[in-house]
């Protein structure tokens, strides 16, 4: 709190030249052993996924495909309407992301700047909302969605998906804006800009890493959410990938078989886009996340 605004803005963008130090040979070996262990632990489950998806006789363990095939992928598109689910997921997740970013940017900024005595408590109360278990709110949310005509509708999915991560992201964005010095926007007001314009032209560019985090996290959450989709969507042409995946996992193969190949193929196509999006934006997102706890 005592640190001046100048100092705080610097901590958001930390291009600090760090002293390079040469390590010993022993250190090199130990560190690289650690890297290998970490990499194996975190990647091993994926190896199974990517081998099973291309295996006509996939099993629940890692093995090289004895009959490499693309048949699993063909099947999920032909029999399980995967293209529809993919399209729905992309549309819903991207729309959720856009809506969330706008809402939390406005809310985070406003909460940061508003003058209220109980602000700290309100901020924490918002965060606590997030901890209300979904199992207790599913029934009322179902009823609400039905009353408002939000079942089997894209708008419903987008609103609910946007709401799910909202408390945490509002809280996060407030922290970001707290660390943006007020004199920047105050100067803009004096130039005659409205508060909204000042926010978009002056404040948001400074808080870009924060926006990236909100965008990334809301996309990931909308891409992953399954329970709400399960109760909100009945129509086959409305379902998103997580629901398609969940259904295939629970029903493919009828009474007597588990079709690991199909499930794995679906999972591959489910995780690839998030990996791609994440790696495309990782620098911005990671920088944002790294700074997400500044000024809270």
């Amino acid at each position: 709190m005592s640190i001046g605004s100048e100092a705080r803005i610097q901590t958001i963008v930390p291009p600090r030249a760090r002293p390079l130090e040469a390590g010993s040979r022993v250190e090199w070996v130990l560190m690289h052993i650690a890297f290998v262990v970490i990499t194996v632990f975190f990647l091993a489950p994926f190896v199974w996924l990517f081998t099973a998806a291309f295996d006509a006789q996939a099993q629940a363990y890692i093995r090289w495909p004895s009959q490499p095939t693309l048949d699993n992928f063909v099947q999920i598109f032909e029999k399980y309407a995967f293209a529809t689910a993919l399209g729905n997921s992309v549309f819903v997740a991207v729309s959720t992301m856009v809506l969330t970013v706008v809402v939390v940017a406005l809310a985070g900024y406003s909460l940061s700047r508003i003058e209220l005595r109980q602000k700290a408590w309100i901020t924490y109360a918002i965060l606590l909302l997030q901890t209300m278990p979904l199992s207790a709110t599913m029934v009322p949310i179902y009823g609400l969605a039905r009353e408002l005509g939000l079942r089997n509708s894209y708008l419903g999915l987008i609103l609910v998906h946007a709401a799910i991560e909202l408390p945490f992201l509002v809280w996060l964005m407030k922290g970001f804006f707290d660390s943006v010095p007020r004199h920047l926007e105050e100067a803009a007001w004096l130039d005659g800009r409205s508060k909204l314009r000042a926010l978009f032209e002056i404040v948001l560019p400074v808080a870009r890493p924060g926006i990236a985090v909100a965008a990334g996290l809301s996309f990931l959450s909308a891409w992953a959410e399954v329970l709400m989709v399960l109760i909100l969507v009945d129509q086959q042409n409305m379902k998103t990938i997580p629901l398609a995946f969940y259904e295939t996992f629970r029903t493919a193969g009828g009474y007597t078989e588990v079709q690991y190949g199909l499930v794995a193929a679906m999972a591959v196509l489910y995780v690839l886009p998030v990996m791609a999006v994440f790696f495309a934006t990782r620098r911005l997102m990671v920088r944002g996340l790294m700074n997400s706890t500044r000024g809270l």
Binding site: F42, P45, W48, R63, Y124, Q130, A136, A224
Partner: protein, 310 residues
């Protein structure tokens, strides 16, 4: 009379109206979020609190005629022998998964990567990417991937053991809690790692320089300078992952569904099971409300503690 009255309140009114004018734009800015939060969090939460005082069910006679039952559900929960079990399971799961797992492992990974950067070890990037990959994939997938690892007959782990000539291990049967903790740590560690990495990068290097001039060795430096400067963020990260771990259940549901017996039945899963397997919405809401109260208690303790330090 009117004039006097108006004159008397004018100064106060001016102050409050100018405060309102200054804040009105912000209130407007908060309104979309407030609307969504009211619709999907506040409203449903109030509904859940109310429902916890009723015997509402989705099937049977209680579905036709729900009644207000006062504190019956709360009394039932306190006398429910399973409640102690699931509470204890939750504590073990949260301590193992959030505190020891994600927090400690996340910190170690961050230190390792930060150190590697200084040493310019290129391979660190691969390890870093692997950790992030586990984090970005959806929970349903994470559960499924670990099912494939642990499966007794065909799972990757036992297939690997067989190559070494070792017998199969019933991972989910013999070490169910450890198994779900490992799955959750695998998925969630990246978040803490990133936060610590960010914190490490903001430690001014002159602290290190000063320490070096003083002749302090690496350990001393770490102990005296690095750790203390991480403390405020560590506390915050701990609060955040503790609360989210306390409420998580989809991974456990996919992996063990609370079994064997009730060995991995954590409170969040218990609430889900009561509400959507037994369809006892009133009782399920009671469990959820108790969870919320526990979270509030935890947050208050945390706030007191962090204020006391500040």
């Amino acid at each position: 009379m009117t004039a006097v009255g108006a004159g008397a309140i004018r100064p106060r009114s001016a102050v409050s109206s100018s405060a309102l004018r200054r804040n009105s734009a912000y209130l407007l800015g908060l309104s979309p979020a407030a609307l969504l939060l009211t619709l999907f969090f506040v409203g449903p939460s109030i509904w859940a609190v109310y429902t916890s005082f009723t015997n509402k069910a989705l099937v049977g006679i209680d579905a036709a005629r729900p009644r207000f039952v006062g504190l019956d559900n709360y009394q039932r929960l306190l006398s429910d022998p399973d409640f102690a079990t699931v509470l204890l399971n939750s504590v073990v799961f949260v301590v193992g998964s959030a505190v020891i797992g994600q927090f400690v492992l996340g910190l170690l990974l961050a230190l390792l990567l930060d150190h590697s950067e200084r040493r310019r070890y290129r391979f660190a990037t691969v390890a870093y990417a692997a950790v992030l990959l586990a984090w970005v994939n959806p929970t349903v997938i994470a559960g499924f991937l670990w099912v494939a690892m642990y499966d007794f007959y065909y799972g990757s782990l036992n297939t690997g053991l067989a190559l070494l000539g070792l017998g199969p291990v019933d991972w989910l049967g013999r070490f169910p809690m450890l198994a779900v903790i490992i799955g959750n740590v695998w998925r969630g560690t990246a978040f803490t790692m990133l936060i610590f990495l960010g914190a490490l990068k903001t430690i001014p290097s002159d602290i290190y320089e000063a320490a070096r001039v003083d002749g302090a060795n690496s350990w001393r430096r770490f102990w005296d300078h690095t750790l203390p400067s991480l403390r405020p963020i560590a506390a915050l990260a701990l609060l955040s992952i503790t609360m989210s771990t306390f409420g998580t259940f989809i991974l456990i549901q996919t992996l063990t569904n609370g079994g064997p017996g009730s060995q991995t039945e954590v409170i969040a899963l218990y609430a889900f099971h009561e509400a959507f397997r037994s369809y006892q919405i009133g009782y399920g809401s009671t469990i959820a409300v108790v969870m919320l109260l526990l979270n509030v208690a935890f947050a208050v303790v945390y706030l007191r503690w962090s204020r006391a330090r500040a």
